[in-house]
Each structure stands twice: as C-alpha cells, then as structure tokens.
Amino acid sequence: MTAVAATLRTAVANGLANRNSFWFQVSLMVANDITWIIFWVLFFHQVGNLRGWDAHDVIVLFSILLTTAGVALGLCANSRKIGQLSADGALDETLTLPVPPLAHLLSTRVDAANTGDLLLGPVVFLLAGNPSPERAAMFLFGVVAGSVVLIGFLVACGSLTLFVGGRGEQADLGFNAILIFASYPLDLFGGATKMLLFTAVPAAFVTGVPARLVRNFDTPEALLMVAVAALFALIGWGTFHLGLRHYSSGSIWIR
C-alpha cells in the first residue's frame, strides 16, 4: 500500500512540475463545467420539472459526476488509457516492478484538466447541495463507490484490447457512453436503455443511484451500491489480469 501511495504522490509532483500549465488546464476545465451548470439552470428555467427532478437535484447529480470523474480520470488518469497503453507496449515498466500491476498503473498518471473536476465537484455540492451531515456523508459514500464502478468499467473496457487487439477504440466508446449517460437523471430513461444503465454500461451506479441516496437514504440501495462497486472492481481486476497473459508488449508483426 505504501508503494501505491508513494507512486501517487510522485505522479502528483510530476503533474505539478509545470505549475502554470497545471493551473491553466484546471481553470479551463472548471470553466467548462460551469457552462454545463448554466445549461441546466437555463433548461430548468424553461422546463420546470423533469419526472420529479428539478435544477437542484440535477446539480447535485452533476457534483457527484464531477467528483467521480475527477477521481477516475484525474487522479487515476490511466484508468481510461489501459487499451492504448497495452497496444503501445507501455505496460513493460510496470511489469518489471515488484508491485501489483493494476494498482501501480492506476496511480502513475495524474491528469491536470480532470483534477479541475475533482476540485469543483465538492464545491458545487457544498454551495448547491444543502449539505447536512447526513447528505454530506452520503455524497462521500456515493462518490467513493461510484468511482470504483467507473474505474472498474473503464479498466475492463481497456483490457479488452489485450484480447481483441486494436488501439483501444472500444474503450473510447465505452468511456463516452458511460459519461454521457451518467450526466443525465436516471428517470429520463426507460425500458431497455434503463436496463443497460444498470448492467453493461453501469452509468446508474456512477451518478444516478448515489444521487438518489443523497436525496433519500435507503439501506438496501446502499448495500446494493457496495455490492456493485465490489463486482465492478472484480470485473476490472479480472479482465486486466486475464488479459495480461495475452500482452504482447507492443510487438507489431507486419509480415
């Protein structure tokens, strides 16, 4: 564990080495996120109420999305790069070290822009989320569990590259899909789409269910959240480790 913590610390130091560029990217991302908040405010100003969701609820959902994305794409920036790293043979460095490879990979790169999400998310929740102690605790719980689901899903998508080859395209599509779906209230979707969001593209567990828990705490749903987080952690871990047997270290054979 200390090795992973030390790696993450080094990754942060590496990201902060060029301070101006780091803060420039962080502020760009924050400005980007604020545009979305403006969109939602304008949208609800016109629409009023959306199947029981008002601007307030959606902004809480959005603050959860920002924070989980900040953890998964900012602190563990490699979670969405596993496919590309495998194709480039860039797992070599990790595999020569006496460390658990997935934990090491996830802690070796910090992305400046997405760190902006991580900084803004809790601020948005504190300002607009009526943060009572219980709600804040649920926010924290939801964000931690949601990040595990998101990272597990992204790692599993990326690890598919180890089995089927390519340059991580399927991971890009999975990445776009889960983040788009996670940006909108769960109750918008019905039927097959909703099924999908609770299973193959688990966007519901990245933002929807955590947001519901912040609104009304429900023990069975919280337990389900823990179980799903554990399941996706296992799926990500398993796909990656099974995939390592097929890792070809970037050996390209065009003959």
């Binding site: 400005a31 959306l50 395209e169 918008l188």
Partner: protein, 258 residues
C-alpha cells in the same frame, strides 16, 4: 486539378478509408441521440406536449440536425490548428504557392463531407425510428444543405479562432471558448427559443447560431430559405475573417521569424 479541390478530395478519401474511426464516431452519435431523445421527451411531456412551439417530434429532429452539423467537424480542430502554427508546420506550408488557410479548410471540408454523409443518414434513420417521420420532408431536404453550410461556417470559424496561435503560440484556450460558444449560443444543446428572450436575440445574431441552430431549426419543420441566406452571409464573413487572421499571422511570421 485545382489544389483546393484536390485537398477536399484528399480529406474525403482519408476519412472514408478509416472505417474504424468512423464507426466509433457513429456509435458516439447514436448514444447522444438516445440520451437527447430521453431528455427532450421528458421535457415536452412535463409541459403538456409542447415547448415554445416545439413538439417532441420537431424538437428531436432539431437535435438531430444540430448535432449532425457540429459533429461533422473534428472535435479538436481549433487546438490542432494552434499546434500546427505553434510547432512551425505552417511556416513550411507557407512555401507552397497556395493559400495555407484555403488548403487547410478544403481538406477539413472534405473530411466533414464524408462524415456528414454517414452521420446524416444514420442519424436520420435513428431519429425516424425513435420519433417518427420529420415534420416535413421539404424541411429534411433543406436541412441537408444547411448542415453542410453550418459545418463550413464552423470550419472557417475554427481557423479564425485557431489563428490566434500566431500570437499566443497555442490555441487550447481559444478552442475551449469556441466550443462553449457553439454549445450554448450556437444552439447545439438547447434551441435558442428556449433561452430567456434577450439571450435568444443576441445568440441568434451571433455567427455560432449558423453552425447548429439554423440546421436544427430548419429540420424541425421550418424550411425557410432566408435561414440559408443568413448562413451564407455569415459564412462569407467568417471566411474573410479566417483569411485575414492567417494573412496577418503569416506576415508576422515572416517579420519575426518562425
């Protein structure tokens, strides 16, 4: 062959020859349509079946055309233009006896046309499947040139914004602000009629509305040729601006050195 036509052809062929990249984009587009359908269906239902004159059907045909037009352009176009300027690639291109910005825009337009053919067809099919026939076939027909013109205005604008890199050596920030301008005042995320009245009027007057709102508005059942004229007018201005920015930038490169 005319060099700009050759550039267009190169961009077009290059795009249709990478089907992997193309199918990922189409998949992405399909997901957006699914989400938007869900969002606007709920919004229209909550308001008694109509929002500022948009029904569910017309609103989703709006979304289809607005998204098609914006997604035709490579997402990081402005940033890439900035990188080419910052890295000195443009300085090398200036040695050729053709306009740098003209050739670049032709190639981008070729790529956009290839993508538009695919995404317009697939998107129209999906939308038809989800919400039924478009408000009028004439509207859908007129939306096609509007989408192309919207893309062209977008590409010209990308070059005007990207050209800022001649002075700042980087266009990341300009890319970013440009993208946000297309999202909101451009009408990609939300039809301008749904904005507060003063914002709606300002947004309509700005060029960004020609890149998403106009194709959307036409496809939603308003085949008004005046809207195409509005696009053409802004396209001419934006092309002029892109040309002027590059001309000034290239002069600066020649004086200051690359």
């Amino acid at each position: 062959m005319n060099p700009y036509l050759a550039g267009w052809r190169l961009g077009f062929l290059r795009t249709i020859r990478s089907p992997g990249d193309m199918s990922v984009r189409i998949g992405f587009f399909a997901i957006i349509l699914v989400v938007m359908t869900a969002l606007w269906t709920a919004a229209v239902d909550a308001n008694g079946g109509s929002l500022h004159g948009y029904t569910r059907t017309s609103l989703l045909w709006y979304v289809f055309a607005a998204q098609t037009a914006v997604l035709g352009v490579r997402p990081r176009s402005v940033e890439e233009i900035g990188d080419e300027i910052g890295s000195g690639t443009v300085a090398v291109q200036m040695l050729r006896p053709v306009s740098v910005v003209g050739l670049r825009m032709s190639i981008d337009m070729g790529e956009a046309c290839a993508r538009l053919i695919a995404s317009f067809t697939v998107g129209a099919l999906i939308t038809w499947l989800f919400v039924g026939a478009p408000p009028s076939l004439a509207a859908l027909g007129l939306a096609a040139p509007a989408v192309v013109l919207g893309c062209a205005a977008n590409i010209a604008s990308c070059h005007a914004f990207g050209g800022i890199a001649f002075w700042l050596l980087d266009a990341k920030a300009s890319w970013f602000f440009f993208q946000k301008l297309v999202f909101l005042p451009g009408g990609m995320l939300i039809p301008l009629e749904l904005l507060p009245r003063p914002l709606e009027l300002i947004s309509f007057a700005l060029p960004f509305a020609t890149m998403a709102y106009v194709p959307g508005r036409i496809a939603s059942g308003h085949p008004d040729p005046l809207l195409l004229l509005w696009q053409l007018g802004w396209l001419a201005v934006l092309l002029g601006m892109a040309g002027a920015v590059f001309a000034a930038g290239e002069r600066r490169l020649q004086v200051m050195g690359g």
